[in-house]
C-alpha cells in the first residue's frame, strides 16, 4: 500500500504554504502547511470545527486565504476561481451533498465530464451533427464509472429520490467522471453503515490504484483513515498538531488530548444539560 516510496519527493501534487483564513474574529486556519504527493492518500483529521472543511474550501478556491499560497502541479492557484481550478484536474465531494436535484443520476455524473466537453448553443441546435458524437463518447466513459461504482440500477432515477448512502456514491462518481488527478473527499462516509463504508473504502482504494489519482481524504471514522491512508495530518483549532504515518500520528499525545479534550468537553456539556 505504501506507494509513496516508489515516487520521489519531487512528485508533489499539491502544496499549501502558511494558509491563514478567519471568519470574523475566529481564526479557522493558522499558518497551515499541507502537501500531497503523487499517488498518495493523505488523511486530514481533527475534532469538529478544527478547520478541515475550511482547508478544503481554500484548496478548491471557494474561500481565498488571507495569507499563504496554494500550488497545484507547480502552478500557483491561490486566487483562482473554483471552476478554473476544476479545469486543472481537481475534483471534490462535499460534506453535505451537493448533487443537482431534478436531474437524473446519469445526468449528474455526466456533468462531471463538463471539463472535458465543449458545450455550446450551436452544437445543441445541430445536435445530430455536432453534439451526438461527443455525447456518446462521454457517455461511454460515464457508463464505465457507473459500472465501477455499481450504480447501474439507479442511473435513470432522479437523484433526489435515491437513498442518502447512494447519493454519496453518486457524488463520488461525479467527481471521478472528471478523471481528476487530485481528488478531495470531505467525509465521504458520513452517516453510512458498516457495509456502505466498506464499499466506499474499496472504491477509494481502487480509484487510487486504477485511475492514478492522489487523494485528500477527510474522515471521522478513524478505523478507515488508519487503514487506507499513507500519511495523516491532524488539525486542531486551525493548527497542525501532528502528521506522519497514521498509527504514529494518532498515538501522538497532543492528538490524544485534542480528541480527549473534545470528549471531556462533551461530557461536561452533557452533564450540564442533565443538571
Amino acid at each position: 500500500m505504501q506507494r509513496t516510496d516508489s515516487s520521489g519527493p519531487g512528485d508533489i501534487v499539491l502544496r499549501c504554504r502558511d494558509i491563514e483564513r478567519s471568519f470574523g474574529g475566529l481564526k479557522a486556519l493558522k499558518a497551515v502547511n499541507l502537501e500531497i504527493r503523487k499517488g498518495e492518500i493523505l488523511g486530514l483529521v481533527g475534532p469538529n470545527g478544527s478547520g478541515k472543511t475550511t482547508m478544503v474550501n481554500v484548496i478548491t478556491g471557494f474561500y481565498p486565504p488571507e495569507r499563504g499560497t496554494v500550488t497545484l502541479f507547480g502552478e500557483n492557484i491561490t486566487r483562482k476561481r473554483p471552476h478554473a481550478i476544476a479545469a486543472r484536474r481537481m475534483a471534490r465531494t462535499f460534506q453535505n451533498l451537493a448533487l443537482f436535484r431534478g436531474l437524473s443520476v446519469l445526468d449528474n455524473i455526466l456533468l462531471g465530464r463538463h471539463v472535458h466537453m465543449r458545450p455550446s448553443a450551436i452544437a445543441t441546435l445541430f445536435y445530430w451533427v455536432w453534439a451526438l458524437r461527443e455525447e456518446t463518447r462521454h457517455r461511454r466513459v460515464v457508463e464505465e464509472i457507473i459500472d465501477f461504482m455499481q450504480l447501474q440500477d439507479i442511473r435513470n432515477e432522479p437523484v433526489e429520490v435515491v437513498p442518502l448512502g447512494l447519493q454519496k456514491r453518486v457524488e463520488l462518481a461525479r467527481a471521478l467522471a472528471a478523471e481528476p488527478k487530485l481528488l478531495v473527499l470531505d467525509e465521504p462516509m458520513a452517516g453510512m453503515n458498516q457495509e456502505e463504508k466498506e464499499y466506499i473504502t474499496r472504491f477509494i482504494l481502487d480509484a487510487r490504484d486504477e485511475r492514478d489519482v492522489s487523494i485528500l481524504l477527510i474522515e471521522h471514522h478513524m478505523d478507515v483513515v488508519t487503514a487506507i491512508c499513507d500519511r495523516m495530518q491532524v488539525l486542531s483549532y486551525g493548527e497542525t498538531i501532528a502528521e506522519g504515518k497514521p498509527r504514529e500520528a494518532i498515538a501522538d499525545p497532543r492528538v490524544i488530548s485534542a480528541y480527549l479534550g473534545q470528549r471531556a468537553a462533551k461530557r461536561q456539556a452533557g452533564a450540564g444539560a442533565a443538571a
Binding site: A84, L99, F100, L111, V115, P119, E135
Partner: protein, 357 residues
Amino acid sequence: MLYRQAGIRHRRYAAERQLWPLTFDRVLVGGVVLFLLAAPFTLDRLYLGSYLLPWLLWSSAALGLNLLMGGAGQIHLGYGAVMAIGAYTSVHLVRSGIPFELALVLAGMTSAALGIVFGAAALRVKGLYLAMSTLAMQYIIDFTISHVPGISGGTQASLQVPRVTLLGMPVTGEVTPYYVALGLCAVITLFMLNVGRTSFGRALAAIREKDYAAEIIGVGTFKYKLLAFWVSSFIGGVVGAVLAVCYLRIVTPDQFHLDLSIQLVAMVIVGGLGSVLGSFFGAALILFAPIFFNNAIGTLATQFGLGISTDLRSHIPLMLYGALIILFLLVEPLGLAKIYDNVRKYFLVWPFRHVRK
C-alpha cells in the same frame, strides 16, 4: 401495444437519448406536425391568421423565456422589451433596404447584446433583485422607444412594416407569414428539446440547481449565466422581429409593454418551468382563455337576457382568467405539462397501476 415501454431494448446510447422513444409519442408528434403543415389548406384563413399564427409566435417566445427561467433558473420580467428591441431593429433595417434574412439575425444580435447588459445583473443578484433589474430593463427600453421619435416612428409613434421577402418568397397574405412562423417555431422547439440532452443544457441546469456545486465541476457560473441571457435574448429578438413582420405589420411601442412580459412569464409558469410542451400549453391558455371567456360571457348575457353592465362584462373574463391561473398554481404548481405527463403515465402503465412512479 403502441403505448408501452416494456420490451424496448436500446442497443445504442444515441437510441436511448432520442427525443421520442415511444411509438405512441412519435405518432402523436407526427400527427401534430402534419396538421400544422396542412393547416393553410384545411383551416379557415381567419383561424390561421388570428389563432394559429399568434399561438406559434407566443409559444416561440415562451420557449425562449423558458430557456432562461426553467433552464437556467433566472427570472426575467422584461422579456417583452427584449422582443421590442428585436422588432424595432428588424423593422428599421428592412425599411432601410437590408434583406429580411440579415435583419432577422441582426435583430437577434441586438437583443442579445442589450439583454446581456441587463442580464449582467444576474451575476451579482438573485431572485427578487434580478426580477427588479429586469423590470428596470422593461421600463428603460419602453421609455427609450417611445421618447425617441427616430425609433418609434415620429409623432404617430407607429411604424409600417414594408413588404419583405424571405428566401425569395414575398411574405404577404396569410400563408407565407404562417409558414415563416412555423419554421421559426420548429427551429426553436428543436433547440429547446436538445437542450435537455446536451452538455450545454446540463451546465445551465447545474447553475439553476446549485451554483457552488456547478463551479466545482468546472461550470463557470458567470459565463453560463451570461450565455443563458445571450441565447434567450437572441431568441426573443428573432421572435420579436418575426412577430412584427408577419403578424403586427404596424409596430407601436405599447405592443411590447409590461403586459406582454407578464403574459410570457405566466405562460412559462402555467405551462411548466423548463418544459417544451408546457410552453405551447401555456401560450394557448394565456392567449385564448380571455377570448373564450369573453365569448362565453357574451353569449350567456344575450341568450338569457341578463342585464350585465358592459363594464362588468369586460371585467368578468379577466377575473375568471386570473382565478384560472391561481387555480392552476394551487392544484399543479408544475404546470400544464405535468398534468399531461400524469395522464400519459397513467395510460403508459395501464392496467398495471402499481408500477406507476
